[in-house]
Symmetry: C3
Subunit: 206 residues, 3 copies
């Protein structure tokens, strides 16, 4: 069940990568690279930092296959996605929620401290998108857009809290991911943002 | 023999990094950094993902020395490279070929699955150049240029196939790297590209 | 003592990340991310490359807490930093010095070769700033600015030399970090730079 949701998250994130590649006029290979990096980048960074080796997709090639398949599908169906943009944003929120909770769960199962658990939830949820944006030369969305990492933070924190309170894993996961999903969807709907921190260029010269 | 080719690949890639640094007006240290990162970046990422630790150049400092020497040489001989641009493109194709096959070989020797083997061949061949382009604020060449990663993919796949078919390592390596080299050189000569995937900005607003 | 200086380095680097985020109009979360990445990025890359796992801040969450606290403090005190810009540059030089020496010390304690020791000193000192600049879409300062990595190189090399010469750790650290600090401060004061390597675009067409 978790596994299926994890793969669904990879597919969704891979599609967002492929679509950005399409806007940047990349070739077929560039589309696949950006899709794969977006789909598995967050979990890869998490595993590297936690010292899990090899990283998760080395031993289970289903992840790579799903990401590549999602990229190919996006290329074949290209313009269809224009109509599906809103559906995609909702799906992306779903991917974020499941990744944030899975990231927290992995760190917790390795005995990490609470702050590291939450950090790994955030990294798993957002790092793929950050790498995608850096490769495509976009300002990373997560650093200045609507509530996104904040939703991951809440989801990961709740998962930790529920598990500590003795809740069984399926419930912890469902409730924490659900809260993350609600926050992200509300942020999309009402354009909720964290306050911007703005220093004028004139303020700092270096 | 493989070791000598590997070092030659590092030197060639390091030179491409140093030349890009020169076009970006970096200082002496920036040139060395970009050269080193381009030369050993692909193999480093491969080792991190496969869980090989420490990464290959920690235990054998020849790699670092070769990359730094290549950078210094490039600075000293700067303008000479203008005339050698075509020779450099051919040399770069040689570096790509040997790196793609060595990457596949490393993954195969660790018992990886076929898809991971091919992925590691591609990563070893292209990741150094991607990091180089990101640090120099260029759109990564490999994501939108002529057939490059595709050549690495073919080389890595052939190496896997030949080895599975029972061919001895020297033959597998020579034939697979040769095929990769031919594809890359043909791509340079006739400007072969994968089709571009293009979505207009108007299509997707997010 | 070293531990306290290490934490001070993290805090200082985190503040430089937060200030850059402010100039880029990032939201509250973006500020924290850029601060954390700048503060712990160098040491993280060092640990990954050396095969230390998990990376240093997983087992000691003080590092994350200090970086986040520095980011929050920067947001709260925002404009104050304008007056403190010079003090901050001095503090940054201090952070660079301690990180370069600590990075060399970590590599040396793992039995690395001299070149790797120096490389790890440089990476620990500068990689956090490079990642910061890449995420904020700035040309990495360290690749083209005043003597910075060169100071780290000298500090790491001296630490190795002093230790080999039989000097006790506290003395090696103090002297090596002191030399790095003096070089960096002199570079700021008199705008010392390495020579620029410049190839005109017209020289190389690719």
């Amino acid at each position: 069940m978790i596994y299926a949701m994890d793969l669904a998250g990879v597919a969704i994130f891979a599609i967002t990568g492929a679509l950005l590649a399409g806007r940047k006029r990349m070739d077929g290979f560039g589309v696949v690279v950006l899709a794969v990096v977006t789909g598995i980048g967050g979990g890869t960074l998490r595993d590297l930092l936690l010292g899990v080796r090899p990283v998760f997709w080395i031993d289970d090639q289903t992840y790579l296959l799903v990401a590549v398949a999602a990229a190919v599908l996006t290329i074949l169906t290209g313009r269809l996605w224009i109509r599906l943009e809103k559906a995609l944003a909702v799906a992306d929120a779903f991917g974020l929620s499941i990744f944030a909770v899975i990231g927290a769960e992995r760190a917790m199962s390795l005995g990490a401290t609470p702050i590291v658990i939450v950090t790994m939830g955030i990294i798993t949820g957002v790092a793929g998108g950050v790498i995608r944006d850096v490769l495509a030369r976009e300002m990373p969305f997560v650093l200045c857009g609507e509530l996104y990492a904040t939703a991951a933070l809440v989801g990961a924190t709740l998962f930790w809290g529920f598990t500590r309170a003795g809740l069984a894993d399926p419930w912890s996961i469902a409730l924490a991911a659900g809260a993350c999903l609600v926050i992200r969807l509300a942020a999309i709907r009402w354009r909720l943002q964290l306050p911007i921190f703005h220093l004028k260029d004139a303020d700092l010269s270096k």
